[in-house]
């Protein structure tokens, strides 16, 4: 990380704002309350997880925290606050930390743009040999590709049963919500009575399990058997964040409707082996504080009854229709027929996926699947990157925030 140097520090006339002038020309403005409550001195700085060293609401702090004195060097800032609750307390910051947390509009904007998702060319299918996972560097690059493009195809995976779980759990904890740690996707007349995925029909674009509050992050599907005689059954993926960007540009009013008017998603089945009542209401598009898209929910197969105000019904259907039509534009679709030994590894919170219908012709198409936790995978990615000496920006992954 670059070393930032301070040129000058000035308190405002009301003594509640500090202006920091940096050697590189940047100017930061910090409120006195922000400075005091984020103090980095040894007493206040968090050294243990969960330790609450600064009680912001201590009534002995004055209502209006004002700066008594401000001193600086090239590499740090020391302040005293009028009537600080700790006697003789010096509010301290090193320059690099302070610059990293500058919250001027320009710096806040940079946090977002640094993490903006880039949209890949659907004509290029990203492939990674699974032997790459034997090294830290290979693992780091593979995860990086998943976060950049939205998915990879791992090739050369052993055809041993359960390979998908073996590979998955080395990367992040397995998420076992409904189908067990390991599930099979195969044409099975009995299973298809419970879930249509266990058949040969095509599945429309969707993301898995958005009837849960937080859908599983990463889905892995290993083609353990995919006979040559089987016709069809291609895997199809679309980057939903790209779709939403197009939607926002082309129909801003419709876009707004889907950020506001929610849908129900549900799986309610009291009769199946593990009976369940999972039902939740969420908007299709989730925005954050900066009006950026940070998550979405899309699964036409598990939508439940629309229960919204009368005035919202038609705008909702109009917007839904518009988004559905963008989603199926051919130029947005990645399409790939898995070969035995291939494993599809994708961000289920960014990509929607579909399956072309297929004809068995006496053969078998069997995929083995699992889910792993995407927040833990992102953690692994940042930790590995740091260990390997790479300059990693924690990526935006579609889990409800930009950072």
């Amino acid at each position: 990380m670059a070393d930032y140097e301070i040129r000058d520090v000035q308190a405002s006339s009301h003594k509640n704002i500090i202006q920091v002038y940096w050697e590189d020309g940047h100017v930061s403005r910090f409120h006195s309350c922000w400075l005091r409550f984020n103090c980095r001195c040894q007493i206040c700085k968090k050294i243990t997880v969960g330790q609450h060293n600064i009680d912001k609401s201590d009534p002995n702090f004055s209502d209006q925290l004002t700066i008594e004195n401000a001193e600086f060097t090239k590499s740090d800032v020391k302040l005293t606050i009028v009537r600080d609750v700790i006697k003789d307390h010096v509010t301290y910051f090193d320059a690099n930390w302070l610059r990293e947390y500058c919250y001027c509009d320009q710096c806040l904007r940079k946090i977002i743009t640094d993490r903006q998702m880039k949209f890949a060319d659907p004509r290029k299918i990203p492939k990674v040999d699974c032997n790459e996972l034997k090294s830290d560097e290979g693992t780091f690059r593979m995860i990086q590709k998943v976060f950049d493009v939205g998915f990879v195809i791992l090739t050369g995976v052993s055809q041993k049963e359960g390979s998908v779980v073996e590979i998955g759990e080395r990367l992040a904890p397995i998420v076992d919500q409904t189908y067990g740690k390991l599930f099979n996707v195969i044409d099975d007349p009995k299973a298809s009575k419970e879930n249509v995925a266990s058949s040969t029909i095509g599945l429309p674009f969707h993301t898995d399990q958005c009837h849960y509050e937080r859908g599983p992050g990463i889905q892995m599907l290993h083609a353990i058997q995919f006979d040559e005689c089987v016709e069809g059954g291609e895997s199809q993926l679309v980057d939903m964040f790209r779709v939403m960007e197009i939607f926002r540009k082309e129909s801003p009013a419709d876009f707004r409707v889907l950020t506001r008017v929610p849908i129900f998603f549900s799986t309610i089945d009291f009769k199946r082996k593990s009976p369940a009542y999972i039902k939740i209401r969420k908007p299709v598009i989730q925005l954050d504080y900066d009006d950026e898209v940070v998550a979405f929910n899309w699964n036409p197969g598990t939508e439940n009854v629309v229960q919204v105000h009368e005035d919202d019904v038609e705008p909702f259907y109009r917007a839904y229709r518009k988004l559905s039509q963008i989603l199926v534009r051919p130029e947005l679709m990645f399409q790939y027929r898995l070969r035995e030994g291939d494993m599809l590894f994708f961000n289920n919170r960014r990509m929607v996926h579909a399956r072309a219908a297929y004809k068995s012709n006496g053969g078998t198409r069997r995929l083995q699947g699992t889910y792993i936790d995407i927040e833990e995978l992102k953690s692994k990615y940042v930790v590995l990157g740091h260990k390997l000496g790479h300059n990693v920006i924690p990526p935006k992954i579609g889990n409800g925030c930009s950072i």
Binding site: V49, E213, D288, P300, S379
Partner: protein
């Protein structure tokens, strides 16, 4: 419930139904068509995708409406219908149940708001208790009983659970698979002299666990394996944050609005190459989540794991003002459950609703040891409803604080 009469609007887009109790419903053409319950259209299994909305004409309009002689079914045909010779079918009782007029929507949301109902009841702040015997005698009924307390009061203590390490998993797995976090599937709250405030003897202020994830763990379970008499302090305090949020809304709508709009950052970051478990988890979200109806459906509070505030200049001071207001509210005596755990107590609470705290303690040669785990709220609510149905109880799917009101 029967239909007195029906009328199609002039623009053929609305079907007005006047019911026998004089209630009036208005259903849009697309809504009626896309929810058709005929054999061809109605989904029968999970993920059965039968109606492709974009395939239908945007100018779909009512043609004719018929009620059967028995009055139980409605048959509707449309202009610009997609399927040849198709008649849309609806069950009259189902239609009334799904009426979406403002009155009905408000009623449905309120019916599910068991949290507000409980807060209005003015019940004393004493943790509800269940004897472990009740679970042994009848596992389904016993489990249902403590789940019901979680749904209503937000917490429960199961008394006299044998102080064996595996008991917490045994009881928890009757509901669902454990929710695993960076602390592992099951963890020990005991003084290890270490790198985490919880694993020490210091006091912990009121908080929810782990908001550095997109969704914090749902249910928290803490089994008291040991709480020796030599140990002084270590008492528990809990507060229903939904209650605190409603008070904030009443007393300061400005601070309430701040907490809805201005997000905070929470993190668990340790990139030290020598640490046993390096980790990088970070999330940014507001303290209060409202749903489509403006009701509070989620809240977050953990002052111990904040990272630096990263919001626009104009939001900084208002954020700290709102923060102080909330801190002042949750410290009010009248909001607090205060109790001391005994060995054998299994404390269970909705980590998305209840704040928990621990007084500092002195070991004096003794040991205070709790064993803990988590469950996802989706599974907790699901098990509650599945058990209710199995046992023949009529319950409404409740609001649980997982960001959804219905």
């Amino acid at each position: 419930m029967s239909i007195k009469n029906t009328q199609i609007s002039l623009d053929k887009n609305i079907l007005e139904i006047c019911w026998s109790d004089d209630h009036i419903s208005r259903f849009h053409a697309k809504w009626i068509r896309f929810h058709c319950k005929c054999v061809r259209c109605k989904p029968t299994v999970t993920f059965d995708y039968k109606i492709d909305i974009p395939s239908f004409s945007p100018d779909l309009a009512y043609d004719e409406v018929k009620i059967t002689d028995e009055g139980h079914k409605l048959y509707i045909t449309f202009e610009k219908e997609l399927f040849k010779n198709h008649t849309t079918e609806h069950d009259v009782d189902w239609l009334r149940q799904k009426c979406y007029c403002d009155v009905c929507l408000e009623e449905k949301v309120n019916a599910r708001d068991v949290i507000s109902k409980h807060l209005r009841s003015g019940r004393e702040k004493v943790p509800p208790e269940i004897d472990f015997e009740e679970i042994l005698e009848d596992s389904d009924r016993g489990t249902y009983m403590w789940l019901q307390h979680i749904i209503q009061e937000g917490m429960c203590i199961i008394k006299y659970v044998p102080t064996e390490e595996n008991m917490i998993e045994e009881i928890t797995r009757k509901v669902a698979n454990l929710e695993v976090t960076s602390y592992g599937p099951v963890w020990n709250v005991i003084d290890t002299g270490g790198d985490n405030a919880a694993y020490s003897t210091i006091g912990l202020p009121l908080h929810q666990d782990q908001p550095q994830y997109e969704t914090a763990p749902g249910l928290q379970l803490l089994h008291t394996l040991r709480f020796d008499s030599a140990v002084t302090g270590g008492n528990s305090t809990m507060v229903d944050m939904f209650e605190a949020v409603e008070i904030m809304r009443k007393e300061s709508s400005e601070d309430f609005q701040t907490f809805v709009e201005v997000p905070a950052n929470w993190c668990q970051i340790d990139l030290n190459p020598f640490s046993i478990e390096p980790v990088y988890l970070e999330h940014q979200k507001p303290h209060i989540t409202l749903d489509y109806f403006g009701k509070v459906v989620g809240c977050v509070w953990q002052p111990g794991t904040h990272s630096a505030l990263q919001v626009r200049e104009r939001d900084v001071e208002r954020y700290y003002k709102a923060h102080n207001k909330m801190m002042e509210i949750i410290r009010r005596e009248e909001l607090q459950y205060k109790f001391k755990l005994s060995p054998g107590d299994l404390l269970i609470f909705n980590n998305r609703r209840m704040l928990h705290a621990r007084d500092a303690y002195k070991s004096n040669g003794g040991v205070r040891h709790l064993r803990g785990t988590y469950l996802r709220l989706d599974h907790v609510k699901s098990k509650y409803l599945v058990l209710a149905r199995k046992l023949g109880y009529d319950v409404i799917p409740p609001k649980v604080g997982n960001n959804s009101s219905m």
